[in-house]
């Protein structure tokens, strides 16, 4: 049986099957909490655990899917390009928003880690939770964090952002789609952006811009840590 799991088709098929199940549940319930990514991740983990399938077997196919994260991030350039007039007009608010947001993200994570007496390595892994995975791995390594924990924090933050973005928009009375997009991208990177794209083209493009900007700002702040 292990020969079947170890084939790349297993990881790819399981991912598509669970994701489409997530999309179906999301459509049926029309609930933000029924996020397709969240459902897919939970179902994948459950199936791997129940059938005692090693994670390495899943990754034979899973890694092939991860390869597309690069191109998926790159094509955000197309959203940015189609919204370039807005970026030019609102450059200062967008820049200041990502700087303030990234600073708040890192300092609040740091303070809360101190409150809970988490050790230095775990704290360093939590500081990069709001930036996209490749940034988080690079930065957390530089400041003495554990990359796999950093990635887990990034993914949890992203899913949380994607699930609760519509709720947070209402909570903070965000009327401006530019502010909403920048806030989603700065707080919950590319996973949040996948939700921002659904909310609207402006939200999606601004969120895409914020991923890059928040990442760069976080790199710069981390140099001083």
């Amino acid at each position: 049986m292990s020969e079947v799991y170890a084939s790349p088709f297993f990881g790819i098929f399981l991912s598509i099957l669970t994701f489409e199940t997530g999309v179906w549940i999301n459509k049926k319930t029309k609930s933000a909490v029924a996020n397709p990514l969240l459902i897919a991740v939970i179902l994948c983990i459950l199936i791997l655990k129940i059938f005692r399938i090693p994670l390495e077997s899943y990754y034979v196919g899973g890694d092939l899917i991860s390869v597309f994260l690069g191109p998926a991030t790159a094509v955000l350039a197309l959203s940015v390009y189609s919204q370039f007039a807005l970026l030019k007009k609102y450059f200062l608010p967008i820049l200041l928003g990502t700087v303030v947001g990234s600073a708040v993200s890192m300092s609040s994570a740091y303070l809360l880690c101190k409150v809970f007496h988490l050790d230095a390595a775990l704290t360093a892994s939590m500081l990069t939770k709001s930036v996209t995975t490749p940034f988080a791995i690079a930065i957390s390594q530089n400041i003495g964090g554990v990359p796999s924990v950093a990635v887990a924090a990034v993914v949890m933050t992203g899913i949380l952002g994607a699930v609760f973005a519509p709720l947070l928009i209402r909570l903070f009375h965000v009327k401006n789609p530019i502010a909403a997009g920048v806030a989603i991208g700065t707080s919950s990177h590319a996973v949040g952006t996948s939700k921002a794209i659904e909310l609207g083209e402006t939200e999606g493009a601004m969120s895409g811009i914020a991923i890059g900007m928040a990442g760069i700002v976080t790199v710069i702040i981390s140099i001083f840590l």
């Binding site: 390594q141 887990a152 933050t157 947070l168 999606g204």
Partner: protein, 129 residues
């Protein structure tokens, strides 16, 4: 534009982004460099929107899907996380709300400030420093 051409173009851009990231003195993700390169190519007119439209739309519409393996990777650090699960969850939730609020309010505040400055300039009828 033919699909194979679109895919080839996109992977080519990613390859260049990766190559630049290897030679940079600071660690900077190749995928973000690829995004900047693709933007510059579109901006300069070397690449037209039509050249990548279908492939880009496919990736953008299904972006969440490509994060599934990264999400399942939580299992890799499961033991470390398990021992601190409650504080970590609280930190993730609280900081995400704070970051979202701080960013959104800053963007809206600066836009409102700019609008007010622009209006007061208009009222005085003359541009000044």
């Amino acid at each position: 534009m033919k699909m194979m051409f679109q895919i080839g173009l996109l992977f080519g851009v990613c390859l260049v982004g990766q190559a630049i990231s290897v030679f940079l003195p600071v660690s900077f993700p190749g995928s973000v460099l690829s995004m900047i390169i693709l933007f510059l190519l579109l901006f300069s007119g070397v690449v037209k929107v039509d050249h990548i439209k279908q492939k880009a739309d496919f990736l953008l519409k299904n972006m969440a899907f490509f994060f599934i393996p990264a999400g399942v990777g939580i299992l890799l650090s499961f033991d470390l996380i398990k021992n601190n699960i409650l504080p970590l969850l609280i930190i993730v939730v609280v900081t995400t709300i704070l970051t979202f609020g701080a960013t959104a309010l800053t963007v809206q505040g600066v836009i409102a400030l700019q609008d007010r400055l622009a209006r007061s300039k208009l009222k005085k009828g003359e541009p000044h420093e």
